[in-house]
Symmetry: C3
Subunit: 206 residues, 3 copies
């Protein structure tokens, strides 16, 4: 994958996640700095954890100024336009799914580039995709959405596995698109149709 494409997709995912973090901050009635900090942590947290795990230190999020501007702009936009953005529940779900789809691919590809094996790289893709959202929810004092919602981790892991396969088989850029697309479509279908994973035996869904 050409590096510039990887970077643009990464920045897009960061901005999208940062927007979800800033929105949580606005709903908790935090001030503008709370929105920026929570937005930045949501947008960059997954990638920072991945970079620590693969030994890419200091993490890209800390070194490249573009990685800092993306969540800053996204958080401020959400802060200012939140009455409009807050009504767009559905669109935010779609954006979040786009972020997950982008991060599971870019996370897995970066881990491979740092010499990790196939399965570890796929796990890094998964962690990149879900890490920021988990930090957002823990900091905001709620159980992470990944534990409460429709299928979330599974599509991300599938996308990461496909991205790893695309690199290993040297399939070219279109295959990354397929990987992200599978993750995105699966997640959106789960969201719209309310697909649920199995609950423990003997427990009913409220």
């Amino acid at each position: 994958m050409p590096d510039v494409v990887l970077v643009v997709l990464d920045l897009l995912g960061i901005a999208v996640f940062a927007a979800t973090g800033a929105l949580v901050a606005v709903r908790k009635e935090l001030d503008v700095f709370g929105a920026i900090v929570l937005g930045a942590i949501t947008g960059l947290g997954g990638g920072v954890v991945r970079d620590l795990l693969i030994g890419a230190v200091p993490p890209a999020a800390l070194v490249e100024w573009t990685y800092l501007v993306a969540p800053l702009v996204a958080a401020i936009l959400v802060f200012v336009f939140h009455p409009t953005i807050g009504r767009m529940e559905k669109q935010i779900g779609v954006l979040d799914a786009v972020g997950v789809a982008l991060f599971c691919v870019t996370g897995a590809v970066k881990a491979l580039e740092f010499g990790l094996g196939v399965l570890p790289a796929a796990l890094c893709g998964l962690l990149t995709a879900i890490g920021g959202g988990m930090m957002r929810d823990v900091l905001a004092g709620r159980v992470p959405v990944i534990f409460r919602e429709e299928l979330y981790a599974t599509p991300a892991f599938a996308g990461a596995l496909l991205a790893v396969a695309a690199v290993e088989l040297d399939l070219g850029a279109w295959a990354y698109g397929v990987a992200a697309g599978v993750c995105l479509v699966w997640r959106l279908l789960a969201l719209w149709r309310g697909w649920k994973a199995p609950l423990p035996p003997g427990i009913d869904r409220g």
Copy 2:
């Protein structure tokens, strides 16, 4: 300590902790993926933090597939058999104590192997033993058990110190057993007899 023994003990500890994480997930009525993710984080979290701190990157938990299979199997078993397992409150307390005893030893020994000094290595043992459980509790939205319960951190730190002594004095494998045993017995006695650490002056135990 022969490496294979270290690995087997480590895997055992991971599976045990993962089971406690999955059980928390089941009680919070999370779905099967929630149980797997929370189980994996509980089982592997302490070791990953230790590996990051000692510079063992990428962490073993991410690279060795055996380290991934252990929590996966444990979490699924708990998920399926939870009505039975859920009644085994006492047995789970024992298993958790076994996990703590194993991790404080293996964590301290690994840190020494990576060149850390005596006290830092003992602290790494402590962190390995309590880290996963703290992540489990924070993610599940409750104050970490280590802050609420009978003696927990002290036995783990004692076990880690003894393990460090065993390595430094070149005492051989039996001494690791003693280290883990001291931690285990101490913790179990605290559990069964309700040993408590001192509360702040002027505060009564509810």
Copy 3:
């Protein structure tokens, strides 16, 4: 900055933050080990995260015994004298502000010494200053104070930026004092005068 000054300031900041962590523990009626663990995490957490991010592994907090004694002593003092210390709400706010002012400077300077650029180093200073407190609050089950309070992150970031400028322009030790002083005074004024950051449009301050 002479290394010994940096270390003394760092230790002072650690002790102060550890005291705030131990005080939260006492108020939650945790026992003496809870106070020590929460104090140590609050005092050392920000620096450990910074060290991981800049590749200073193993972190200083784990290797230098002085870094361990400082929070231990502070936590035990708070535990024993909490009825007196607990009434000193105002003094604790001042101490916490001193800790923030010290950490944003030492954190930024250390990051520069490890080869980070200007903006990344300033961010490391910010993270050092706010990281431990965020961990304290998440572990204690409350939304981080940085999200709830008067201006907190902004003075820390300003102090970190000034510290970076002091190093880059080779201004000497007095400039570090100015950097910490600006952060401290700004934070104290925010605390005493109730300066607030803007809330989202359409939301009133309760």
